[in-house]
Subunit: 260 residues, 2 copies
DNA sequence: TATTTCGGTTCATTATTTGAACCGTCGCTT
DNA sequence: AAGCGACGGTTCAAATAATGAACCGAAATA
């Protein structure tokens, strides 16, 4: 792998670890030498992608991605367009709703609206969703290109719970059903006691750019409820897509670059 | 410079260019060979930091920074804490208000709330603010460490307009005045016809982490007005800091890492 | 149709990355 | 308080990856 790839993988590792992390732990986690990890961290820090706590000497994600993300959102306002719909669905359903974005071959959680209930599902912002074991992943796979699907199926399907679907054939029939229905249902595929449903947010070329999902504790999710939530979710996804790609058409504003 | 540094500099260049950019333009802009630029772009694309439009083959900032930014904001919610105050100040002043964050030795605009007026100042999200020629920069310099100040003063001070302060001595006295007053004033330092005022948002160690600024067209900004706006801005900055670093104390929630 | 420009690729040359061993410091245990 | 182990950080010869001039085909331009 190239040096850049290794450095970005290290950055990814830092982003996955909870809280701040020390040099040795980062190096171990990436299978890199301590000296190498340190050089990468110094370089990433110079550019603001990580920062080091001057007191504890531990590292965390820095401020530079905030700027890049704001630039991207200004040109491609996926998150901000979807946010009100996510809130609306969370209120309507009373359950935790989360939004994901597809980038670099992965589906990442970029927004979570918690259920107000005491017994609720917790989803972390920034978490990466396994394709075969989450409603979001299934919703994505059911509508993505054959190429992307085969990429996922070519890797082994990890069993997170005893209910995780780990057979490629079972997965394919689940996806066919999802495609027919317009929304996916995942029964405790990643976490026991959690049922979720999701729908793809599609670009005009009909390929999904992300998903919206509702996750409920098993006790509140009987069959009828989950399908009611599923179709609401699919309708919401469609509305997000229309709003977003309606806005997209406008674009193209030649703005001044500076002002004090 | 290390390969990583070069790649991140290239990423920065892409982020500064308007819209999507082609390979040759990126390479030229970074002083890199076309082949090298391409290798960097391919590597950055693999990790979602840039994406290539399949049709035009031009490059733009990708989705990966969004995830990283959301993770950072979840742990260090500077932007989301400040946002309501920025809106409030924009409404109260009727002028364009922007928020900046200090990272990697630069002050970057991460939020802009536009004035409702037809004749208003435009500030781009993502723009980098020169320290000596913007109210935000002056507010930062007036309160930052001596080390950081000397770094800025050691570089030549570019003249953006005929009013830009380019003498280190003049700048020092401006900063002394700013420190005394608690807010900075910049008279057409970056763009003719624009007057702005800013105040630092300080961490508990009293070093600034960013700034909040109000920018008004010259015609609406007489001396009394600008000083009234300045003290409101300073008060707002103080409130953001208190809210944010009050919240900081709480922190430390051990969340579950997954849920479908 | 001729010409330029662009995105992308190749491969011998060159410069950078690598990591085992090392240092000093901190926190813990004995 | 003395000894131990773990940590962050550094060094330099050996190993490996980055580099860029020249090249290709396609598409815009003249």
């Amino acid at each position: 792998m190239s040096t850049i790839g290794k450095a970005l993988t290290l950055l990814d590792a830092v982003s996955r670890l909870e809280k701040d992390v020390g040099l040795t732990e980062i190096a171990r986690h990436c299978g890199l030498d301590k000296a190498t990890a340190r050089r990468f961290l110094v370089e990433l820090e110079k550019h603001g992608f990580v920062e080091q706590d001057p007191e504890t000497r531990r590292y965390r994600i820095g401020g530079a991605p905030v700027r890049l993300a704001r630039i991207r959102e200004a040109r491609f306002p996926y998150l901000s367009t979807a946010a009100p719909f996510v809130r609306e669905l969370a209120e309507a359903s009373g359950e935790t709703v989360h939004l994901s974005e597809y980038a670099a071959g992965r589906l990442s959680t970029i927004l979570v609206e918690d259920s107000p209930r005491a017994n609720r599902v917790i989803v972390d912002v920034g978490s990466v969703l396994p394709f075969h074991a989450t409603a979001s992943g299934l919703a994505f796979l059911a509508f993505c290109s054959a190429r992307q699907l085969e990429d996922v199926l070519s890797a082994p399907l990890e069993a997170f719970t005893e209910n995780t679907v780990t057979s490629a054939n079972d997965l394919r029939s689940l996806l066919a059903e999802t495609a027919r229905r317009g929304y996916s249902v995942c029964l405790q595929g990643l976490e026991s006691g959690v049922i979720s449903t999701a729908a793809p947010i599609k670009a005009p070329n009909s390929l999904p750019i992300g998903t919206i999902a509702v996750a409920a504790p098993l006790v509140r999710a009987d069959e009828a409820t989950i399908h009611r939530l599923g179709s609401t979710t699919a309708a919401t996804a469609k509305r997000i897509s229309e709003k977003f790609f309606g806005l997209e058409q406008l674009a193209a504003q030649p703005l001044a670059r500076r002002a004090g």
